[in-house]
Symmetry: C2
Subunit: 359 residues, 2 copies
């Protein structure tokens, strides 16, 4: 698409399109392999996986593709557990638990062990690409991964965060605009300050870092991709567009909720995990957002609501599930990865050949 594209060069892919490493079961081996087989970059969302689960996923994907793929990990946070706070929030969650017949959950003290084990698995399995969300890894982790020639991708929601990613040694940085679905990657700012729209964020990041920038947030089709490349990004990351694909492991109710939603349906909320994330407003958000300031930090709130959301999915109650979605949801389609990518390639060819001419 561009005369020079460092993202496709670095990642050894044909198309500068990254399937976001969404945690929570969306990134099935089928999805990741389908994306990589097409010539884009599939990614495992390892955020909530044990290292054993991660290794199984990696090995499963290797059976299905010889092309590069990546793993996305969450840089861990280890807030203190405050029993009184948890007991209070448990009373807010009681009505949902009772309606679903779910037991109270025991909260484990957050640790960094899973993360460290995940990094080891990624190195042992020689996964070609490792991306990070919720912060930047330590210099030591960066060095270890680089020694294995693993390409590193960081996430930023502001210019300052992009510069921090570059400084620690990331090869590529994702600029996550406010339109993006799922968790905000913000780690140096308050969540309100760091809600910069993709159109504004991308060129300002591009101007301030030397490493290539991948645009994310509201990008759903060829128009979005080409427009991001014009802004100076050298690639795009798409999440919501892949959630509704046939290969995605997302719950059917989640897919349907996105497919039927409008651009104004989503809200950025901490009620599900204790960390801001964009999802479709539903009854759980309506009822819990009044307590938003009282909730424990990520990942504690996530532990508290996880069994409840899992059971809500089983009992087909989308009103209590986390329905992560970006703001481009009217453009979502239920289609195979191949059809989606074919259409994107066609659309971009058409835009370049037939629409653009000189002023």
């Amino acid at each position: 698409m561009w005369n020079e594209n460092r993202v496709t060069d670095l990642l050894h892919i044909t198309y500068p399109i990254i399937q976001a490493g969404m945690a929570g079961g969306v990134t099935s081996p089928t999805l990741v392999a389908a994306v990589s087989n097409y010539g884009a970059l599939g990614n495992i969302g390892a955020g909530y996986m044990t290292s054993t689960q991660l290794r199984e996923h990696i090995q499963e994907i290797k059976k299905r593709t010889d092309n590069p793929f990546g793993v996305n990990v969450f840089v861990p946070e280890t807030p203190e557990v405050h029993t009184a706070q948890i007991e209070k929030v448990d009373t807010y969650l009681a009505p949902f638990r009772e309606a679903l017949n779910v037991q109270k959950v025991a909260v484990n003290t957050p640790s960094t062990i899973t993360y460290e084990e995940q990094i080891n698995v990624i190195m042992e399995e020689k996964v070609p690409v490792c991306s990070f969300t919720f912060g930047i890894p330590s210099k030591e982790v960066v060095q270890r991964l680089k020694q294995e020639n693993i390409v590193l991708i960081g996430t930023a929601t502001t210019v300052q965060e992009a510069m921090a990613n570059e400084a620690i040694g990331m090869d590529i940085v994702v600029a996550q605009g406010s339109e993006a679905g799922g968790h905000r990657g913000t780690f140096l700012h308050s969540s309100k300050e760091a809600m910069i729209g993709t159109t504004a964020l991308v060129p300002q990041v591009v101007d301030r870092v030397q490493i290539p920038v991948i645009a994310a947030g509201g990008i759903m089709d060829g128009r979005g991709i080409l427009s991001a490349l014009i802004l100076g990004a050298e690639g795009v990351q798409m999440g919501t567009a892949f959630v509704t694909s046939e290969e995605s492991g997302a719950n059917e109710l989640h897919k349907e909720a996105i497919l039927q939603s409008t651009e104004d349906a989503s809200v950025v909320t901490k009620v599900f995990s204790g960390k801001e994330a964009r999802g479709i407003r539903n009854d759980f958000v309506d009822k819990m957002e009044v307590y938003e300031d009282e909730l424990p930090k990520y990942p504690i709130q996530n532990m508290l609501t996880q069994p409840l959301r899992k059971e809500a999915a089983k009992q087909q109650r989308p009103e209590w599930m986390s329905l992560w979605s970006g703001q481009g949801s009217r453009l979502s389609k239920r289609q195979s990865v191949r059809d989606m990518m074919d259409h994107i390639v066609e659309e971009i060819d058409h835009l370049i050949q037939h629409k653009l001419y000189k002023w």
Copy 2:
């Protein structure tokens, strides 16, 4: 730029670039004429003008350009005046008034008279273009203006609002993304729902209306313009980029605040006018946002703070002024309209000729 562009055709302009009709003194006749003389569309921000002031501006601009220009008006709102509420807010404003030595202001009951007079002036002066913010005009106003062959532009922040603009008979609709500086044009939604980033908003609007769409929000240079056109817009509206131009009538402190700000410096707040608007966070926002839910509606709050902001400007106290700015502010420059436009044209030519090629 496009083989067919209805925006340049309808507006009889060379470049599909609209200078936003920013109220409050930014759109000096010098600025409007400079933009129109270049072949883009200059706009008077008539929001706070009397009909006499508006007529003077129009006549001044006619002396300076033979090219088309427009007037932006606010569709009026006439909330009830609640004396007790105003007295309460007056106590919150007292510390600022005292520090600046400003008298308490009398609040007039909001009426639609100024708006109706503005429409008459626009018709009498045969201004080629009339644009609307804060809602849609009545069918009757639309018909009267159309009989004079005045091109009508509406403002939308969601797909539904764009459809309402099309239904009432607007010729063109501006899709205002969440990045945009100044007042939000939202009129059918809650302000929180209607914060859709430009990258997500534009293609979803384009898919749902037949009339041409102008993209707004975070667009500061050739990259932003070309990217919006790729998203399906047939033109762009730029506000912040023109505020810091040499020809702009904005206060120097306002210009400096934008020039020195970062992408995360702004906040959407009701504290200045009673209606959500994006501006650079300062002491006035910090101190008043705790009362946000108690403030009277637009335009009452605007009347209460207006003399205070005016005096703050006089006394060189930007911390108490309304420093409207979009999220693209790192890309702002102090330059003449001609230099800015020359650079944009060059940049777009370069992007089209040298950067794009086939996949």
